[in-house]
């Protein structure tokens, strides 16, 4: 059964995401490829941005996803996709691998986190749980509503991106986001001067001083038929990623039906009452697979972050940490 799931999962990724990638690659690239005579001879049909079917050589398909997506092109979104993430709180044990993978991929510093791991204790009686928090890529994004220059935008494929070549750094989006998903580039870093990569809102690299940045759901990876860095790296299979239109999500290990997963396991969206309509769903932390303490086996700085959680205070009082 699991084997079957795995293979169907691969199919979904390849067929599904590649057609999306080509459609967004831009006319110029497709034209170049059509004129290019070297190739395997195997032709594949793809959609251009204006909806036309074009035949290109299969060997060149892999070059597509790495093509540079300009800020203008990045506004459109991958066609016929509605990306969604499901986070299984029962599995997270604060391994922080997702955080580090994300930071590495986006050239972030130790303290710059697109994915934050919070320790949440809903009330005094409740057991605390680890709570990975990316950007929720809301359908009613307060950040997009208030942006005065359209530097942050909502795409058709559910993704909310920031174009740091357009951002003036007014920080209004940071103050209006109820989920604290956004951070600001307060000063200059050496990695911002990287010349080897061309900036694209889809990669958020290289960063720019004085602008806003946040989790981007890694559209560059999605175009290559890959999962976002956090999902790929999580050793516990906490993070599921997929497409609401296909009703499928995967954590890389298993592919499951999104609606079934949400309905059978009591999936919910965080702070639903705020009306932001997030596209990140949580599965409640019931029947947890790891004890919470496992996540506390970290350097002091990490543990110190959670000092205000009553449970941690209790542990400290007992002298356990």
């Amino acid at each position: 059964m699991e084997e079957k799931n795995k293979s169907s999962r691969r199919k979904f990724l390849k067929l599904g995401l590649i057609s999306g990638a080509t459609a967004l690659a831009g006319n110029t690239i497709i034209n170049n490829l059509i004129s290019d005579q070297d190739g395997s001879g195997v032709k594949i049909k793809v959609l251009t941005p204006d909806g036309q079917m074009v035949e290109v050589d299969a060997e060149h398909l892999n070059k597509y996803p790495e093509a540079h997506i300009t800020p203008e092109e990045s506004r459109k979104g991958i066609p016929n996709r509605k990306f969604v993430m499901v986070i299984d709180l029962a599995r997270c044990n604060n391994a922080r691998v997702c955080v580090e993978a994300c930071q590495k991929a986006h050239n972030l510093d130790y303290h710059q986190e697109f994915m934050k791991i919070q320790l949440i204790q809903d009330h005094k009686q409740a057991n605390p749980y680890w709570f990975p928090k990316p950007c929720f890529h809301c359908d009613e994004p307060s950040c997009v509503k208030v942006c005065p220059t359209g530097a942050t935008f909502k795409r058709d494929d559910n993704i909310v991106l920031v174009d740091t070549t357009r951002c003036i750094g007014c920080k209004f989006c940071i103050t209006s986001c109820p989920y604290s998903a956004r951070i600001f580039n307060w000063g200059h870093r050496e990695v911002y001067d990287r010349k080897d990569v061309k900036y694209s809102p889809e990669t958020s690299v290289p960063g720019t001083e004085g602008t806003v940045l946040k989790c981007d759901f890694c559209p560059d990876m999605l175009r290559q038929g890959e999962l976002p860095h956090c999902v790929r790296s999580c050793p516990m299979g906490v993070l599921y990623f997929g497409d609401i239109l296909e009703d499928l999500v995967t954590n890389g290990e298993e592919t499951v039906q999104f609606s079934k997963l949400i309905n059978e396991r009591g999936g919910y969206r965080y702070l639903e009452r705020l009306g932001a309509e997030p596209n990140v769903y949580y599965l409640p932390p019931v029947e947890k697979q790891f004890p919470l303490e496992g996540g506390l086996d970290k350097e002091d700085e990490i543990i110190e972050r959670y000092k205000n959680v009553p449970y941690i205070q209790e542990l400290k009082k007992q002298g356990k940490i």
């Binding site: 208030v146 357009r166 007014c170 103050t175 109820p178 604290s180 307060w186 700085e301």
Partner: protein, 446 residues
Amino acid sequence: MDKANRQRELVREFSPTIEKYSILLKVWIGILIAIILVGFYAFYLQVTKGHEITGMRDNVVWGIYIINFIFFVGISYSGAFISGVLHYYKSPWKNAISRIIEIMTVLSLVIGPVFILLCIGRLDRLHYLFLYPRIQSPITWDIIAIMTDLIGCFIFLYLTFIPDMAVLRDSQDLNVPNWQKKVYKFLAFGYQDTPEQRKTIHKLVRSMSIMIIMLALMAYSVLAWIFSLTIQPGWNSTIFAPYFIIAGLYSGVGVIIILMFLIREIFNLKHYIRKIHFFASGIILLILSILFGYFTFTDYFAKWFSHKPDDINLLNTLFNNYFWEFIFANYIGVIVPVIILLYRKFRTPLGVTIAAVISVLGLWLNRYLIVVPTLETPFIPIQDTRPEFLYYTATWVEYALSFTGIAAFCLFFTLLIKFVPVIPIQGIIENEEEAELSITEPNNLQ
């Protein structure tokens, strides 16, 4: 009475303030310029080293720059409202203080928005606001509102300057440099004080009065919406626009009283700015402080009683981390002025001015408590170990630039009243003419 003679007399009376630069004045201007230079250095550092040298961080992304912005624009709004009302109703004692209020209105509206610029991460991209405007954004509304308000207030200020420019242009014995005379001539715009011209200018000033009241009302409501249209606890309040309007009036009247007091003492104008001015503005301040206290109480009372968890978190931040600030801003800043102003015997120039100083300081702090604690208390608790990310503390750069704003206000004010009489000469003449008329025609007394 001969108009020309009286004009000459008045020009002679006010000419010392225009002609001479005493040592004290030079020292004063020197100090102001020194403060501004420090501010420029701080600004240079902020531009070259980035916003890292401010106290703002990922959670508290708006600090005292935004607070100063709200504060200055509030003063301007208040000035526009009051001078608009004064010109619309023919109040006899308005003339002595109208110019002070008008200059304050324009200057604070020029300085206020500069603080927004200081808060912006990419000043070099400011023109993107016009290149890629999004009309849906409250910031775009604010830019439109403030620019319109600024233009309106400039026109209004200029209209009230014209008659005095003509008076100064015609004063042969005024000892000022030639260029200054040329400027007077240019700005007087051919005004000769004919009955027709006088009528026209009165009409213009009066219609502009209504306009700037409306403009200021809109500009300040939009500013309140920047906060109240978000869903953050403490900001998302339906009463924010009227609350800001009342608070703006409150601080503005406070600043007007302080300016009145200083100008009266420094230039010895007790003959013009009389006790009645302080008495009356004391009563206005009293009403406003009660209203402001009422609005503040309603806002916090509903939050406390309804006990929504997010509001309670905010109140916890306020009472745990900002206890004394809260007490000063919302108790002392309201109750002490009310007590001072409630008693007739305290409604002296000094008493009213002390009440005004307390209310202005309290109000600035009130703005601080609106902006910062909300940002320190987001929906999802901040879990961080870096103290500057948990709590906001303004750095010397931010304070230096804040004082630069105040210094620039004082400097421009000083220079402007070196250029035009601080009390409209033409207004004095017109008032006297009217008084004469009402004596010769007893019917007018009714």
